[in-house]
């Protein structure tokens, strides 16, 4: 029960088996015109204690992938194929009861909008304590004491008073901290964060981000962090996976992917970022708009917007292949392009 257990990242990283292993994940939703495939063949693996950032535009399937990890799509009427393993447990074959034990217990979830993601008519302390009681079977008093400790962990001042507060009585930053406390309440091995800083003010954003990174490193919790913000990714990621139109197009260590991107899409993204010393330089831009996933062209999904497009891109769908150890990319011409980065 000691939540300040200094289980270092290195101690956990020593464990060999990946905490998260996704293979062949495909998700489809029923729309007006039949099934729409929003995630297509996602392969991912994450070692304990590591932080993976899923990067992509709106509609690229990153949030859906995250929800699939805890089986939340099952109840939404989505069609989910493929295999998701969390710490060796196959999520797709779990019973409902086992799934409930895993959610909140082994896997914590942080949502984007802390205003709407907390129940407005229950006190914050209640919402954290009920999670602990559910998973740990402790008394309400013990759970509240634990919630109090968690508020110290996420650095919420006047914890006693804030536990008794309703969500609307707290600022956005405090609400998101409370949300993190809730996600961490049962000491999960894996933390899933769905754009947890997007809805916050810029100054609060960085505080929450640093707090999250600190907790994640200190506790050795593995984390999948979804964002569309490259700056946020650079701040927190050990590894980065870039998603486009429901697929992972590039994956590797944060340094490799963000500083030396191989996929034209990742490159276009990194060119769109304002960088300190480039005052009078023209900002890169990404022409076109994200594809309609219900009507994807044959071949590479990014081809219509790609500045390095060749004829075969429109015919052949690229598979992921290794560029360097631990760095793979789904582009037919990635290797030949990397030398000539357009500046």
């Amino acid at each position: 029960m000691n939540i300040h257990d200094p289980l270092s990242a290195s101690a956990r990283a020593g464990a060999s088996a990946p905490i998260l292993d996704i293979s062949g994940l495909a998700v489809a939703y029923r729309g007006g015109a039949g099934w729409t495939q929003v995630v297509r063949g996602v392969e991912l693996s994450l070692d304990p204690g590591r932080c993976l950032v899923l990067l992509g535009e709106s509609g690229s399937g990153k949030s859906v992938t995250l929800r699939a990890i805890v089986g939340l799509l099952r109840e939404e009427g989505a069609k989910v194929e493929g295999r998701v393993r969390v710490g060796g447990q196959d999520v797709t074959s779990l019973t409902s009861a086992e799934l409930l034990r895993m959610r909140g217990g082994r896997v914590g979830f942080i949502f984007q909008e802390p205003m709407t993601a907390l129940d407005p008519v229950f006190r914050i302390g209640h919402q954290i304590a009920e999670t602990i009681v559910q998973h740990r079977g402790v008394s309400w008093r013990e759970a509240m004491a634990k919630a109090r400790e968690l508020f110290d962990l996420v650095q919420i001042p006047s914890a006693e008073r804030r536990l008794q507060a309703y969500p609307n009585e707290l600022s956005g930053g405090l609400r998101q901290r409370a949300m993190i406390a809730m996600a961490m309440s049962c000491e999960p091995e894996l933390l899933l964060a769905d754009e947890p800083t997007t809805a916050l003010d810029a100054t609060v954003q960085i505080q929450v981000l640093l707090l999250l990174r600190e907790i994640q490193k200190e506790r050795g919790t593995a984390m999948v962090f979804v964002t569309h913000d490259l700056g946020v990714a650079a701040e927190i990621a050990d590894e980065v996976a870039v998603m486009y139109a429901g697929r992972i197009v590039e994956h590797g260590d944060a340094g490799q992917v963000l500083l030396n991107p191989a996929h034209p899409y990742t490159r276009a993204l990194t060119n769109c970022v304002v960088q300190g010393s480039y005052r009078d330089r023209r900002l890169g831009e990404l022409t076109g708009s994200p594809p309609d996933v219900s009507r994807l062209p044959p071949g590479c999904s990014f081809a219509p917007r790609c500045i390095s497009r060749a004829d075969d891109c429109l015919r052949t769908e690229p598979a992921r292949r290794d560029m360097a150890p631990g760095h793979d990319v789904a582009c037919l011409h990635a290797g030949s392009l990397s030398a000539s980065r357009p500046d």
Partner: protein, 317 residues
């Protein structure tokens, strides 16, 4: 919270006074002279003037209002022109009878409406939702006096299971919780409860559907809460709306239904109001309306307070 309670109670005072004024003036501007209903047709002008003086109808309007309000404040609602008995006594006995019917119908409407609404909302667009929809649509669409007549025809006349009218077997004694009295209560209860039940069920269904669509439900599921616990969150969120609707429906029922009480000859406020109107019994009409509207003001106050106790967001404003 305490500040809110005090403020809300203070608000009720001007509302209550305004209501008394409206009640008094509405009855006054209504056409028809109470004296002409009281006196024989061949009465002389002197007899009419005498009667007007006796009932204080010759005074200026505002003076009449002030006197009436002053008397009402100490519980004196005047004397019924029709029966010659104190209005307060007549109204209180009618309120008691309506209260019995309203309590029984209110319980049925709230419990059934609550259950149907929750079930329909949780299984939205499933067969059970369609069945509930059918029931509630019928409930709000069927005129309650027609339903009352149908109930009498089927269960009292054809099947002879239940008594068709009255509050009990003997007209003399008060209401007692024995089968003879309860059997008289069943049909009026169904007729009175039908509409409120449907309204409550429909409001609650909409409220549950709305709550289920909100983000925090996903949070609750993502943190592994059991179905029952999630259901409790849903109910707690739908509760303020449900309570408001229930309170207002209960207020309607306490007002007594003129039509249902007339069909079943139930000696409640609706029945009393109807006879006061037919007899142009001004003091009785004003007294009954006053008591009923005070009920409404009071009930709205209670609903607001209960609602603020269940929803922390209301207290802040």
């Amino acid at each position: 919270m305490l500040l809110y309670v005090v403020r809300r109670i203070l608000y009720a005072v001007p509302i209550g006074i305004g209501v008394t004024f409206i009640v008094f003036s509405l009855v006054h501007i209504a056409p028809g002279d109470p004296i002409s209903a009281l006196l024989p047709n061949e009465a002389t002008q002197e007899m009419v003037d005498e009667a007007r003086r006796e009932f204080g109808l010759d005074r200026p309007f505002l003076v009449q209002y002030a006197i009436w309000l002053g008397n009402a404040a100490v519980g004196n609602l005047g004397t019924s022109i029709g029966s010659g008995r104190p209005v307060a006594t007549e109204v209180m006995s009618a309120v008691g009878n309506t209260f019995i019917l309203a309590t029984s119908a209110g319980l049925v409407a709230c419990i059934l409406g609550f259950l149907l609404g929750i079930v329909a909302g949780l299984w939205r667009d499933r067969p059970v939702d369609h069945i509930v929809n059918l029931i509630t649509i019928s409930g709000v669409s069927v005129p309650h006096y027609w339903l009352a007549i149908m109930l009498v025809i089927v269960f009292a006349v054809d099947l002879n299971w239940l008594p068709p009218l009255g509050i009990g077997p003997d007209r003399s004694g008060g209401w007692r919780p024995d089968w003879a009295h309860i059997s008289h209560l069943i049909l009026p209860t169904i007729a009175t409860a039908a509409i409120p039940m449907a309204v409550i069920a429909r409001t609650l269904r909409a409220s549950v559907v709305d709550v289920l669509d909100q983000d925090f439900i996903t949070t609750l599921r993502a943190k592994g809460l059991r179905r029952q616990s999630v259901l409790w969150h849903v109910i707690r969120n739908a509760l303020p709306t449900a309570l408001a609707v229930m309170g207002l429906q209960l207020g309607n029922m306490l007002g007594g239904s003129v039509l249902v009480e007339t069909v079943f000859a139930w000696p409640g406020t609706g029945f009393l109001l109807a006879s006061a109107i037919f007899q142009r019994d001004l003091p009785l009409l004003q007294g009954t309306m006053l008591v009923l509207s005070m009920f409404f003001v009071f009930l709205n106050l209670v609903v607001d307070l209960v609602q603020s106790a269940t929803d922390p967001r209301i207290r802040r404003t």
